[in-house]
């Protein structure tokens, strides 16, 4: 934020302006107790442990690439989910919207002949618009009809998946442009970064900037913090909520395209826990389910902790079921830390 910008000369009579140095110290202290920092350290510790135990298998460029590719779609979902949860909302529909958008994209691309970059671009736009449409439905029902987000997105979770199965007859659609699979799916940018990871990175950076440095992000925090206060300063709370759910839907559409590039078919049955994984990642990353608090960086870490655990356990030949147990423990711990912080705050 403003920390790096040079401070202007404080007004002579401003007693609060002497805050500079002590403020820097306070920020350092806050960082040490910050849950994002804690969870980041936890990730580093995990990486260190697995690297020490299996340096030859775990700490290789190839393996880290695999972890990142597996994490990419979840990261894209997680960015949207972070915005949603900061408004004190929830979006359970992302996995279904992902599948539904992928189905629409395949239909569109097939109709266009299924080859060439133009078709890939049109397919991507179709997937994102489809996701956007679902998000608008979610947002409108939540903001205007005032139905709780949990119920609305539970409804669209069912409707989206059912719709996808109706369109496909329950059979996964295959047939996507070769470019999508051979270049985007398995190719690498500059021969180093997998394309799927690059896409997820761009989404993450744009999301982080939007959340921290723009009005859109500021209003997201304000609404999650005190929606009535936001309304009183003239923020159009309903419209902002609709935009936030639309963003989540649109990113789910993009994640659908990433999934197509990776698996070459619509993987209808493969995303039933995406929503919970995304929510877990966001919450592990320090975003509060009560709204008003959260970071994209935290979500990145929250996505990678389960991904690293999964990968590390496989390499160590630990039964992979332990990964789910471990993630569950981390999730509960993260929410507990959030509760402790809130309690400490309310005692003030």
């Amino acid at each position: 934020m403003s920390a790096t910008a040079p401070k202007p000369a404080p007004a002579v009579e401003a007693p609060a302006a002497s805050a500079g140095a002590s403020e820097r110290r306070r920020r350092a202290v806050r960082l040490a107790t910050d849950s994002t920092a804690l969870i980041f350290v936890a990730l580093l510790v995990l990486l260190a442990i697995f690297s020490a135990l299996k340096p030859g298998a775990f700490a290789t460029v190839n393996n880290l690439r695999n972890i990142s590719i597996a994490a990419a779609p979840l990261l894209v979902l997680g960015v949207g989910m972070t915005f949603v949860i900061i408004t004190a909302g929830i979006d359970l529909s992302v996995g279904s919207v992902l599948v539904f958008s992928g189905v629409i994209a395949v239909k569109v691309m097939t109709a266009l002949g299924n080859s060439g970059w133009g078709v890939v671009v049109v397919g991507t736009v179709a997937a994102m618009l489809t996701g956007l449409a679902w998000g608008l439905v979610n947002g409108a029902l939540i903001a205007k009809a005032r139905i709780p987000a949990l119920i609305v997105t539970l409804g669209t979770l069912g409707a989206g998946l059912g719709g996808a199965q109706l369109i496909t007859g329950g059979v996964n659609l295959r047939g996507v442009p070769r470019e999508l699979v051979t270049v985007v799916g398995v190719g690498r940018l500059f021969g180093v970064v997998p394309w799927l990871v690059a896409v997820a990175l761009v989404v993450t950076v744009v999301g982080a900037v939007a959340l921290r440095m723009t009005r859109f992000g500021r209003y997201t925090f304000a609404i999650g913090s005190n929606a009535e206060a936001a309304r009183r300063v003239g923020i159009n709370v309903d419209r902002h909520l609709i935009k936030v759910y639309a963003l989540s839907g649109m990113l789910a559409g993009l994640a659908g395209m990433i999934s197509l590039a990776r698996f070459t078919n619509t993987t209808i049955a493969g995303h039933s826990t995406d929503n919970l994984q995304a929510i877990a990642a966001v919450v592990i990353g320090g975003t509060s389910l009560f709204g008003g608090v959260g970071t994209i960086l935290g979500t990145v870490v929250g996505v990678f902790i389960p991904a690293v655990l999964q990968n590390g356990f496989v390499i160590l030949r630990v039964q992979p079921f332990w990964q789910e147990v471990a993630v569950g423990v981390v999730l509960i711990a993260a929410v507990y830390v959030d509760q402790l912080k809130r309690r400490a705050r309310d005692r003030l």
């Binding site: 934020m1 403003s2 401070k7 609060a16 805050a19 500021r218 925090f221 206060a229 936001a230 008003g292």
Partner: protein, 258 residues
Amino acid sequence: MADSPILELRGVSKSFGAVQALTRVDFAVRAGEVMALVGDNGAGKSTLIKCIGGIHPADGGEVRFEDRTVTISSPKDSSALGIEIVYQDLALCDNLDIVQNMFLGRERLSSFARLDETAMERAAMQTLASLSVTTVRSVRQTVAGLSGGQRQSVAVAKAVMWNSTVVILDEPTAALGVAQTRQVLDLVQRLGEKGLGVVLISHNLHDVFEVADRICVLRLGQKVAEFDAAATNQQEVVEAITAGKVEQVPGMATEATA
């Protein structure tokens, strides 16, 4: 000063379902004048200013600003007119810091639509300093960590930072200590001297008499009296607050919901 009111309500009514919170209230504040609004709990004071602020638009009656009839149907409308309000419940965002709260909804932007945090921080510090708010450690601390009085100071600072024409304060000193109360009362007086229209809601008649030019008394949602502060005394005002004559207007409740 100027004789025509800068902000005027004529026959404003407001009901919440069966509760008739305001019944044909006339209310006016002139530029350069401090108008006190007093009345018992539930008299309708906060409701009246929420009508002005566009939070609960009035059901009936007319709002006039600088001799024009205006429609205030949202908070944006009232702030566009230059009306700033400190609400009784303060309406701050706990998770945002002081600067973020003070600029909420009116953030300054730098290039590429980025928030200009440096400029906002500087302006916030200056405003707080000009109000002699010296007890906050940092303008970057979240509002959740402030004391009740500090929160009230931030809410007041948030309202006076803009080039406004009318400032309305709903019990702005309720949680303040002696020194801070002094500051806010001085501020109220200064705003009046600067030529703004100021409305002060308070239960503390001592404070009211210290700064107000006129005193408007509400009782049970109706205006029961208006005094020239120089030509009345506390006892008269207390009588109006507790026993002011309320005229019964038959059929109002049904008419107002139309």
